[in-house]
Amino acid sequence: MLSVDKLCVGYGEADVLHDVTLRVGEGEIVAVLGANGAGKTTLLAALSGLIPARAGEAMFDGRSLVGAAAERIVGWGLSHVPQGRRIFPGLSVMENLVVARTAATDRAEGGFAAAVAEAEELFPRLNERRDQLGWSLSGGEQQMLAVARALVARPKMILLDEPSLGLAPMIVETMFSTILEIRRREKVGMLVVEQNAEQALRVADRVYVMELGRIVLEGPADEVARDPAIERAYLGA
């Protein structure tokens, strides 16, 4: 469904991603592990059209993502939950969901109301906080809202940038369980980039490891988890 071939991306003088190749199948959860500055955020930003690719190809659902504008790509069924959640701080929880509505939301059965109901079923906290402004939510609630906002667009695939960032271990655990639940219910695929290898390896089907803008290792999650180098670098063993 998503296939990335030899993608090169950079800012100004600096090249950040070098020949990144990866694949995410329909309904598959794929994790990209990497340390700070590895280029994880850059990869997702290039896929969702926020920054241009310099070379290579990225296809999603039969369309080329290279050169496409971010505001169109959502409409193709690829949602991006950015690093730092980027909730609209001056809008309420409900209003954050309203602005995330797309043509696909309305095409789906039940329209916007059904999309909100489903998101609130996954994250009951959001229902309690409906009228609270974005900036006043806790980090965990903001992350829930960020994922709910992506779901409202009825995506076929979600790009998730460090959903664990800055959250307490218990909340992280719940968040990743919800990610599995979303896949089970909505059959959406997910590309999750993470530094928290433990949680990412728990939910992912396949894993890529990224270092300094290159994919250095790939494989099924259980295999990668047993790799001694990975254990040392990411699992603190």
Partner: protein, 291 residues
């Protein structure tokens, strides 16, 4: 008592004009981070468009009002094409200096197009006052206040209750996240520029009958509108409206009860006092605090 009410009414009238100017000026700041110091000239052009359509061409006033607003919206659209979009993403001082330069050029253009002599624009209701109880009122002042209530109220509703208004707010708060939601950020900003320009046209047209129309009239209003945005809170739409009203009222009260010579000074003394007590204005943007 009568004088007091009379003073309040004229203060509120000017307050509404300042509120319009401050609101239009703030809209582009809030929506796109564009500080548009050519806004004064947009207002001036609103007045001159009014004179052109109503006096020179002799169109009915309502039609002239609509055409003046449309003319200013066209200016706003040209600005987005040739000034704001090319400067997008630059430091805000770039847009400050660019728009100051353009403002000076536009001021000169006014003299070229309409000549150096002051012009006048009639009101909808003639120039005589009517008695309401014991105070005499110019109907034009009431029109200004009524339109301010209607338009500012309508804008508030549109921004907070319609999905396009919420999308405009989202664009203002986080353009990158807005793009990820599929919101056409460029078009939203253009909408904000055009709204801002429309308000300039309206204020120029409404304020013209209160004074004479000169090429510096927008500049004078802009000083007060700017004071209003500082008093109200930089970048806050609510602050612009209340700041404008406050500047208008205090200016009128000061002129009546302290000294009319120092009328101009009073607005600026007020800025200094407010900034000493509340450095971020009366209605600081709550969002900015969190970020």
């Amino acid at each position: 008592m009568e004088t007091f009410l009379q003073v309040l009414l004229s203060g509120a009238t000017m307050g509404c004009i300042y509120a319009f100017v401050a609101l239009g000026f703030t809209l582009t700041i809030a929506a796109a981070g564009v500080v548009n110091f050519a806004y004064s000239e947009w207002v001036t052009f609103g007045s001159y468009f009014g004179v052109t359509f109503a006096v020179i061409l002799g169109w009915p006033l309502w039609l002239a009002l609509g055409a003046s607003i449309a003319g200013c919206i066209a200016i706003g659209w040209l600005f987005q094409l040739f000034v704001f979009t090319p400067l997008e993403g630059r430091h805000f001082l770039t847009s400050v200096s660019a728009t100051i330069g353009i403002a000076l050029a536009m001021q000169a253009l006014v003299t070229l197009l309409w000549g150096p002599y002051p012009l006048t624009l009639p009101t909808f209701f003639g120039s005589s006052a009517v008695q309401i109880g014991t105070i005499s009122v110019f109907p034009h002042n009431l029109l200004i206040i009524a339109l301010a209530v209607l338009i500012i109220g309508g804008l508030q509703l549109a921004l907070t209750r319609t999905s396009i208004g919420l999308r405009l707010q989202a664009t203002a708060q986080d353009p990158m996240a807005a793009r990820l939601m599929g919101i056409p950020v460029r078009r939203m900003r253009t909408l904000a520029y055009c709204l801002s320009a429309g308000i300039a046209g309206l204020s120029g047209f409404l304020v013209a009958p209160l004074f004479v129309v000169t090429n510096t009239m927008g500049f004078g209003l802009m000083l007060k509108g700017f004071a209003a945005t500082i008093v109200g809170g930089w970048g806050s739409l609510k602050g612009a409206v209340y700041g404008g009203l406050l500047v208008g009222l205090i200016e009128a009260l000061g002129a009546a009860y302290i000294s009319s010579e120092y009328k101009e000074l009073i607005a600026f003394a007020m800025i200094i006092v407010v900034l000493l007590v509340r450095p971020r204005g009366l209605f600081p943007e709550r969002i900015a605090e969190k970020l």
